[in-house]
């Protein structure tokens, strides 16, 4: 391995260990790594937006393809920075309103067309026992689960009587689902931890072995 290769591994290992040091207690190494991480992440977005949006969607189409009308979103975008001048900060609302209004328009359709209707359609499944016990039980779990979960989140009427009973079933379903999600998330984080420990053991450990 080259000197630069070793340097790359040692730098990554130093940052990883600095972050892990927080598990003991807050310390200057953790604080430094945390601030570097915040800065790099912000810088990462600058690079990403600059290349993928400003250059590819604004500058290149405007100057190479003659799409002069893109100057308007460019101005709207620049108006965002009016926020930093208290006297003119209200102007940035126009750009913000453009983005928010547009997103609301997209959401209004996409949420109903892309989520509500397909999910409702998928829930309208056959409960006919002729399809076999296992299939009917699975279908029942889905139908009862969806209805009881929706009823649990329905707060316009007090949860008493049939509504209260169904909401109670909803809580059981929700608890099982949250438990499953929790278990899944834990396993995901553990696998990331294993990855980082493997990096320290094999990559950094290998580098230490080679050097010393």
């Amino acid at each position: 391995m080259t000197f630069f290769g070793h340097f790359e591994i040692w730098l990554s290992a130093f940052l990883v260990l600095s972050l892990f040091s927080f598990l003991y207690k807050d310390n200057p190494f953790y604080k430094m790594a945390e601030h570097i991480f915040a800065g790099l992440s912000a810088g990462y977005y600058v690079g990403l937006i600059w290349q993928a949006v400003i250059i590819q969607q604004l500058v290149n189409p405007m100057f190479d393809q003659g799409h002069w009308w893109l100057v308007f979103p460019g101005i709207l975008g620049a108006l965002m920075f009016a926020r930093f001048f208290s006297k003119w900060s209200w102007i940035s609302r126009i750009s913000l309103a453009f983005v928010i209004g547009n997103t609301a328009g997209v959401f209004l359709i996409s949420q109903l067309h892309g989520f509500v209707l397909p999910q409702v359609v998928s829930t309208m499944i056959s409960l006919n026992p002729a399809q076999g016990f296992a299939a009917t039980l699975s279908a029942l779990v889905i139908v009862i689960g969806v209805i009881s979960t929706l009823i649990y989140f329905y707060f316009s009427k007090e949860h008493t009587g049939i509504l209260g009973g169904t909401a109670k079933v909803g809580i059981w379903f929700i608890m099982i689902s949250f438990g499953a999600h929790f278990g899944y998330t834990v396993m995901g984080r553990i696998s990331l931890l294993i990855g980082q420990v493997q990096f320290l053991l094999f990559d950094w450990g290998g580098s230490i072995k080679q050097i010393f």
């Binding site: 949006v53 209200w90 453009f98 547009n102 989520f115 438990g179 499953a180």
Partner: protein, 236 residues
């Protein structure tokens, strides 16, 4: 003016998207406008993210210039932002006006260091600094999740017991050793967890939550379009 104009802009830009959805983008004016407006929103949205970065730079540079407590950490943030951002926005060839000026100062053989491509400074910083730290940050959550689980997973009532049991079963099911352990009780147990917990109860609850959240998002969108919801404008 300060409130009415933004509300009108929000209504019009939203209306274009709603009407445009029902139009053919190639054959109708509105459909075509919808496509164009989507590109406009990407551009303005890009600027909003840049605004966030500028804000980070402003806040941190203020702390550094006033040498407030622990200003050295804020300096580290500033250096990191610039180290990542400046090489990324530099031209990668001398084709453009800026590129020709830039490469009259620096040798063109250095061009691979700039931009966001492979072997660039941006790419190197991402691979050897940002990415390992991101993975570590998420990996550290394993410890905090374990500590949260210790506090939350007490079988105090039926619901908490249900949560505890499902989480334990799913965690066991996800690893080969755990699956082997579950098979001691029944060979079908891992299959049942998959069918009735993950693809059954979990899907049903997620579906219920998605339907509820989507209806909420759609109604909030309508409130924004009609100008009832104006909190995004802030005060003043």
């Amino acid at each position: 003016m300060r409130t009415t104009l933004p509300v009108a802009v929000a209504f019009l830009s939203g209306l274009i998207m709603v009407v445009g959805f029902f139009m053919n983008p190639e054959k109708t004016f509105f459909g075509n406008v919808e496509e164009e407006v989507l590109q406009w929103v990407t551009i303005v949205g890009g600027f909003t993210l840049l605004l966030g970065v500028v804000s980070i730079v402003r806040v941190n540079s203020r702390v550094v210039s006033q040498k407030r407590k622990d200003w050295i950490y804020n300096l580290a943030t500033l250096i990191s932002v610039f180290a990542m951002a400046i090489p990324a926005i530099m031209p990668i060839s001398s084709d453009s006006n800026f590129g020709s000026i830039f490469y009259s100062i620096f040798p063109e053989s250095w061009s691979f260091l700039f931009g966001t491509g492979t072997y660039s400074i941006y790419d190197w910083l991402f691979n050897y600094m940002d990415s390992p730290m991101m993975a570590t940050m998420f990996a550290m959550l394993a410890f905090y999740i374990a500590s949260a689980a210790y506090r939350a997973f007490r079988a105090r009532n039926a619901e908490a017991t249900l949560l505890l049991l499902t989480a334990v079963l799913v965690m066991l099911w996800r690893i080969p050793m755990g699956e082997a352990f579950l098979r001691i009780f029944s060979d079908s147990l891992p299959g049942y967890i998959n069918t009735y917990v993950m693809s059954g109860v979990n899907v049903a609850v997620q579906r219920g939550i998605i339907i509820g959240a989507a209806l909420g998002a759609a109604s909030m969108s309508l409130r924004i379009l009609l100008g009832i919801e104006r909190t995004y404008m802030g005060k003043g």
